[in-house]
Symmetry: C2
Subunit: 129 residues, 2 copies
Amino acid sequence: MVKYDDSQLDKVFHALSDSTRRAILARLSRGEALVTEIAEPFEMSLPAISKHLGVLEKAGLLKRHKDGRIRRCELNAAPLETASDWICFYRSFWEAQLDSLTSFLDKNKKEKAVNKKSNIVNLIKKKEK
Amino acid sequence: MVKYDDSQLDKVFHALSDSTRRAILARLSRGEALVTEIAEPFEMSLPAISKHLGVLEKAGLLKRHKDGRIRRCELNAAPLETASDWICFYRSFWEAQLDSLTSFLDKNKKEKAVNKKSNIVNLIKKKEK
DNA sequence: ATCATATTTAACCATATGGTTAAATATAGA
DNA sequence: TCTATATTTAACCATATGGTTAAATATGAT
């Protein structure tokens, strides 16, 4: 297993563990926004939002650009790659649980096979709908 | 953006936000284990480990099988798929930041293109080592 | 200079978290 | 039945978290 930066992962996963913060990231995925704009859809005070932005910033997921009186907030998705990599280690486990296609896998080409299987599984899911 | 179960994601990401718990999952990825076995490498009391197991269990990442006096713990990676799906929405963002290959992408085949690009990026990374 | 706007900081509060030790529980074995 | 083993529960503690309101700060506009 590859070695990850524990304290970085702590911060990123913690930042993602709150639905308000996930919603803020979703908002920023549609483009930069001012603090006030970010806060608007939430029934929460501005200081509360400001704290959430701080948590996201410390996790490296958000960058604040001071621009006169206002402050533009920008998504910085890079740290999500580390989180994604960490989770991906477990992909073969959840896919093995999902069904029994795993038995077809050529263990020497595990990663490629897993990707192929993933596509098959998605096709099956779509047909079921 | 697809709709996710917020409280489920809250629990899973929170469970992942602690390095002890991530280490426990890593241990379980090598196979089932007893509570005592899980606790062994940590400089922490058994009740502390027991609490961590509780957090993982509530997130659905761990299953405990009572088997006489002992309790076997098993990894249940399924909830990680939801977390992975959530994060994957942002893949194009971190890849766009990574370099400028993005400009080659056919926006109508974004997902396929992103996968292709991902491979290219990995190749480049390997060459750099 | 004054006032309004955008945002953060400070001080506070209730609850959650991550740890501890000691006691309780359940079961295996002598 | 008595004792040792495996694990959880209870009670406690310090710190962190997520929220509040009020005050401070910084800048733009009149």
